[in-house]
Structure formats: structure tokens, C-alpha cells
Amino acid sequence: MNEQQPTLWQFMQQQADKLGVQTLQHIGLTFISLFIAVLIGLPLGIYITRKKGLSGTVLGIAGILQTIPSIALLGFMIPVLGIGAKPAIVALLLYALLPIIRNTYTGITGVDAVVKEAAVAMGMSRWQVLFKVELPLAMPVILAGIRTATVINVGVATLASYIAAGGLGEFIFGGISLNNTNMILAGAIPAALLAIIFDFLLSKVQKLNFKKIKGAVKVAPIFLIVLSCLYFIPSAYGGKLTAGFTPEFMGRQDGNLGLQSEYGLSIHTIVISDAVMYKAAQEKELDVISGYSTDGRLKAYGLTVLDDDKKIFPPYYAAPIVREDALKKFPNLEKTLNLLSGIINDSVMTELNYRTDYLHQTPERVAKDFLVQQKLFKPSRGGQEGIVRIGSKIFGEQYILAEMYSMLIKGYTNYDVATKTGLGGTKICFDAMTNNQIDLYPEYTGTGLLAILQASPATVTTLQVNKDSTYNYVQRQFKSRYNIKWLKPIGFNNAYALMMRGQQAKQLHIKTISDLKRYLESK
């Protein structure tokens, strides 16, 4: 770890504002969805105790919802509900439904049949039996369900940051992309504490005796509503334009921090995952996004890159980085990987990305078509002389490059290939490499400089003058620090860029980031 890095405690103090907002958002998200889930789940649970025939179906559907991976569920929500709080709340409430419905059902069906018969025989109406006998007696079980749902929600709510709904996930996923352990912990520890605290408090409520629960039942909805409102406090402001930045971009000197310090740009910003960012921009949910200059969706969604007139975004030339011991073990590897060097420029990469991201062609097919077209493709030799392990990060461009390297190695050498694609972010990918789980993956000079080497602002400023100086700097540093070699650049520069919808940019006469700033400051 770099010595200049602040301790976790210092980091949390520096970021106290953000941390506070994110924590409130997190609590808010958890409880809005929990509240709605109780409003739906409790009556539904009661209903299926009356219509036992439906119980299997209802519990089955709730169970299936529970098994959908959270990210996928959030993804399904976007076409229907857009981005932001709405889809996040809906997704969270769907997760909370099963424990609430199931425990309501189990709790009520578990009430002693003799007691129920006595209640009916005394002349209680159906509603009186429900409210005076069944619900009070089932309450401990129902509360156990709500408790489970709360803990699930605190956990899943971290993912809400992917779709711009805020919460502690902003720090967690920002930290993962930025290779910043403090940032991860600053999000993860409060999230874990929230789960533990709420679980503890609810366990206390559960153990209250029947008498006190009568009162608590009346207080609980108010309590839930108050907690839910926390979500709206931080987001009670708006702006002319809305920007959506990835968690990674938010925390980088060559990202939002630079925009603020160099340009003095101040814009209403939400945090969002890059998987949905472009779509949100096209659908006018967002006006300004932080993208990559070679992203295929640029073309597909009619977005324009704003000119970085103050040059805050450093160059991001892509090149394969390889463990030195792998180069020794596989002598033909370097030569083979360098076959790709200098043949993919920005527009070629954008075109290739467009084919995977927008036309939904498989990375394998796109890679093969390109190699065939470049007359580089050779069929696999079925290599037996060891296995080269290739990694990639979790976006299209990296998959394509990993496929190309895999085909080249199989075609030009006697090595076999194992691919470990889709590694979450820079940190995960790089850690896999230093831990000797992969031999190579495509990396970008800027990422190496800022995210991995964590170069000081002074160093960055001196290097930025020249694209080659950055490459030379990271190559030297990686070699001495990690024993990892940067091979020749592939050719394209996938730098950060601010982008807007082309039409809107034209309308507002915004061509550069400075134009954007002037527009935001005009009345």
C-alpha cells in the first residue's frame, strides 16, 4: 500500500459528508422498500391462509423472485422503470417479499387450531379473529420474517448504486474500481454495521411480550415511514442538467475530482454503473455521462464526446501486461502478443465495440472476423506445451481483446489457453495477476498510472505532456514494483471522456467541457 494513502479513519473523516449522505440513502432505500414489502406481503400472506390453494403458487413465485441474481433483477427493472430510486426500490421490495409472505403464512397457519376454534365459537367475526387472535399470536414469526427481509435489503441495497439510486454501494464499487481499499471499507463497514444494528433491534422487538407488541404494531409503520424519508433528504436538490458518473470516475483525479478542480464544474451528479449509463443518457434520464472514447455505444446511441480543452484526461493506451515469469515460461508468448500491436486504432476499436455492445455479436465472432480480415488468423494447433491464462475486465472491449489473444496464441504457438474473463474491475483483475492466477490481461496506461500505481498529482502533471512518457513511466514502475511487463501498445486510446446526446449538445452549443461549465453557470 502506498505510504501517502490516508488511514481508513482519516478517509472516513475526509469523506464524512458523502458517507453521511450515502448512509442515510442506504437506510432510506432499505426501509422504503421494506415498508412497501410489508404493505404488500402481509395482506398477501394473510390472503393465502384463507385460500390455501393459492399458497403454493404465491410462495413459488416469491421464491423464484428471490433466486434471480440481484444485478440481473436491477437490469430487468431499467427498461420498465428507468434508473434511480424507483427500480432500486422495486427490486429490493421483490427480495423482501418472500420472507414476509412466507412467515406471515407460516405464523398464521401455526396458530393453535383450538384457540382459533374458540375465537370463532365465542362469536368473533372473521376480522376479529384475524386482528385479535391470529395476527397477535403470529406476530413473533411475522417479525422474524421482517427481520430477515431487513437484513437482505441492507445487503442488496449496496447494489442500488449501479442504477444511480445511491447508498453505500457508491463507496464499495467505487473502491473496487479504483483499487482503493479504504473506500471499499468506508462503504462496507457501515453497511455491515447497519445490518447488524437493525438485526439486533428487530430481535429485541421480537422478544417483547405480547402485551407490548400491541403498542409496537401501531408505532412500527410510523417508524418505518420516518426511516424511509431519510432517502429523500439528500436528494432534495436538482439542477439544470444531470450527470451520471461511474463510481470509478467519481473518485479519480482524472475524473470528477479533476473536473471540479481544473474546470470548476459543478453539476447535479448521480452515481451509476457503466452498464446502464449510456442507455440512460439516450433515454434522457441523464444529460452528461462519463464514458470511454472508444465505446461502441457512442455510435449506437448518438452521443458526442465533449472536447477536453484543459487536458485533464490522461491518455489510456491499451497494451497487454504480462507476468515476467510467464514470459520466461512461454518464450514465444511476447512475439505472439505483439502481432496485434499498432493495428487497432480508435475508430477500429469503436467499430468492434459497436458490434458486441449494440449488435450483440459474440466477442469470439467479432475477434475472429477481425483477425481473418487482417489475415492474422490461423487455426488452432491444439497446443500441448502448457497453458497461458488470460484475464479480462468485465466489459466488451476487454472480452474482444482476450479472445484475439487467445486465438493468436492457439494459432501461432503450441500453448493452450485458459481464459478468466469478466473479472469485476481493475482491482480484481490486477490482484488476480499479482496472486499468479492469470498471466496476462489488457490494461490501459492511465489506469496503470492512476489506479494501480496511485501516482501523485505532481507526477501526473509532468507525465501528461506526452503519451509516450506515461507509457514509459508505467512500464518502468510495473517492472520494478510488480515484475510485470507492459508489451507494445495495441494502438487505440480508450480515454475517459464526457459525453452528451449529440442533439442536445448542438442545441445548447456545447462543444467543450468549458462550454458545459459556462452553460451551467448561466442563468
Binding site: D112, V114, V115, E117, A118, A119, V120, A121, M122, G123, M124, S125, Q128, K132, V133, P136, L137, F210, K211
Partner: protein
């Protein structure tokens, strides 16, 4: 008071209750007796519509129960369950006050009546704030009875009310049950599988089998004039004890010796059963028991042997009738 007309209830393919009719007079205690699955509980539950009959009707106080709101009907009919069915989350006081609260009595009235009923059932008012699980089984069953009686319904339905109690507690509650003023005015229908209990508490017994009433009559009628083999076989095992319980000293009065060894000490009423007379003996040598016939102002003093011989003569006579 209660008139049951041709009740039928079928569960799946089994006829649980097969065309049953009977009448119960005001103040009478009718026991529905039979083995498990004979339809006695189903019959009882159809009276307050816990189970709706397939056909047939019940009239309580000349009113057709099927034409009333089920909830209102049940508030006016006391119901005692085998496992008491007390609400575990209510105190004893709240449990007793369930029906008065449903009937919207005012607080003072509920409180006064609760105290009254709890005293009659030999419970202490301190227990009103306790929860059911803090009470013994016998006490819980008494609370169950108090809950059924608190609104003073004219009709009381009891589903094996003492079935879950141990023998000692049960016979104690039987005594209290028979002595309770509150119950003497009530029309009671009780379900039991316990022959002794039926003979002890019933004015009349309806012996049921396979959804039908096999014989409906007083305990003595069932014992001495069984309608068929099923009835005599049903009573066979405990016959001697049942006879001792059923035959009153009055019935064998003529067979008791008249050579008046009259002593001026306490005397047993002639309305007592042979069973009670046997219980009164201390089994000292040459012991005499005084029996007084209130109507004829006649006192007889008998030894154990004389009592047994009178019973045996009475039986011989009945057999030749």
C-alpha cells in the same frame, strides 16, 4: 328448548352424521356418548354452526339457527372446548371478558360479572391478571367454563370438557359441576366418550354409533332396557359400577330390612345412589348406615351385607320383569 331435526353431514364419502333428530328440554343435560368417529362432536358443532350441516335444521328457543347470523348466534351460546382454547396472549380476566366485550357491555358491568363468576368457580380474583400458561390444567378448564358462562347464555355446548384432565382433577370438577347453581338453569349438551362421566352428569344420554343415535334415554333406561346388543355391549365392561351409580336407595327401599334399629345420628338421603352409600361406609365391623326417606319420613339402618342383598333382590326382580 333445543330441537334438532334430521341433521346430515358428509365428509367426502363418509356420512359423519346421518339423519339425527332429538329434543332437549330447558334445564336438561343431554350427553352425546360414543367412541371416536361416531359423529358426536360433528353433531355438537353443527348446533352453533362451527360446522354447517348439509341438510336438516336446529331450533334453539324456537329460532332456526341457520337463519341467524352465525357470529350473533355463537355469542348467545356458551361453548367449552376440550383443550380449553384460552387465548395465550390474553390475561385470565381478558379471556373471561371476550364475549361481554363482543356484546359491548360497559366496563363496570364486565368487571362485576367477572368477579362474580370467578368466585362461583372457586378461583381467586388475584388470578385475573395471570396468563393461561401460569395456571394448572384444572384451573384453565374452570376458566374455560367461566368464559362460556359469563354472559349467562341459556344454552351451553361442551365438547369433551373434562377429557384432558387427570382422574383426580376430573372427579373434583365433576362434583363442582353438579353443585354449580349457575348450571342448574342451563340447557346443556355435552359430548364425551367416557361412560362414567356420562352416567354421572347426564339427565339423558344419546348413545351414538356410525353417525346415528342408537338409543336415547335416561341412564337407567340404557342400563336396564338396552335397545339392542350394541348398547348392552357398550356398557358391559363397567356395568357393575354403572348400576351402583344409577340405582337409588329409593329404588331398593322395599328390599331393605325394616326391623328399625333407629339411632339418632346423621342419615343419608334415600335419593342417593348405592355408589354413594358404599362410599359412606367406613367398613368397621357391624357398622350400620342410616338412610332417611324424606317423603315418607322413614329411617332405615342397614349394614353392608343388607345393602348388597337388597341390590341383589332388586336385580333378580328386574330380570324377571
Amino acid at each position: 328448548m333445543i330441537k334438532v331435526e334430521r341433521l346430515v353431514k358428509t365428509f367426502g364419502t363418509t356420512k359423519a352424521v346421518d339423519d339425527i333428530s332429538f329434543e332437549v328440554a330447558g334445564g336438561e343435560t343431554l350427553v352425546l356418548l360414543g367412541t371416536s368417529g361416531c359423529g358426536k362432536t360433528t353433531t355438537l358443532k353443527m348446533l352453533n354452526r362451527l360446522i354447517e350441516p348439509d341438510s336438516g335444521t336446529t331450533y334453539i328457543n324456537r329460532q332456526n339457527v341457520l337463519q341467524q347470523s352465525a357470529d350473533l348466534l355463537r355469542r348467545g351460546v356458551g361453548y367449552v372446548l376440550q383443550n380449553n382454547g384460552l387465548f395465550p396472549h390474553y390475561t385470565i380476566g381478558e379471556n373471561i371478558a371476550i364475549v361481554p366485550n363482543l356484546l359491548k357491555w360497559d366496563k363496570a358491568k364486565i368487571e362485576k360479572r367477572t368477579k362474580e363468576i370467578i368466585e362461583k368457580l372457586n378461583l381467586s380474583a388475584d388470578q385475573l391478571n395471570a396468563y393461561p400458561n401460569e395456571l394448572s390444567g384444572g384451573q384453565q378448564q374452570r376458566i374455560g367454563l367461566a368464559r362460556a358462562l359469563v354472559a349467562d347464555p341459556p344454552v351451553l355446548l361442551m365438547d369433551e370438557p373434562f377429557g384432558a384432565l387427570d382422574n383426580v382433577t376430573r372427579s373434583k370438577i365433576h362434583e363442582e359441576f353438579k353443585a354449580l347453581d349457575e348450571l342448574k338453569r342451563k340447557t346443556i349438551i355435552m359430548v364425551t366418550h367416557d361412560v362414567q362421566e356420562a352416567f354421572e352428569l347426564a339427565d339423558r344420554i344419546a348413545l351414538m354409533d356410525k353417525g346415528k343415535i342408537v338409543q336415547l334415554g335416561t341412564p337407567a333406561e340404557l342400563l336396564f332396557n338396552p335397545a339392542n346388543d350394541f348398547v348392552s355391549r357398550f356398557l358391559q365392561q363397567e356395568r357393575l359400577q354403572l348400576e351402583f351409580r344409577t340405582i337409588k336407595l329409593q329404588d331398593i327401599w322395599g328390599h331393605l330390612p325394616t326391623d328399625g334399629r333407629q339411632i339418632n345420628t346423621s342419615a343419608l338421603s334415600a335419593a342417593a345412589s348405592i355408589w354413594q352409600a358404599l362410599e359412606a361406609f367406613k367398613f368397621d365391623p357391624n357398622e350400620n348406615l342410616n338412610v332417611i326417606d324424606q317423603q315418607n319420613k322413614e329411617i332405615k339402618s342397614v349394614t353392608f351385607n343388607e345393602l348388597m342383598s337388597a341390590y341383589s333382590q332388586y336385580k333378580t326382580l328386574r330380570r324377571h320383569e
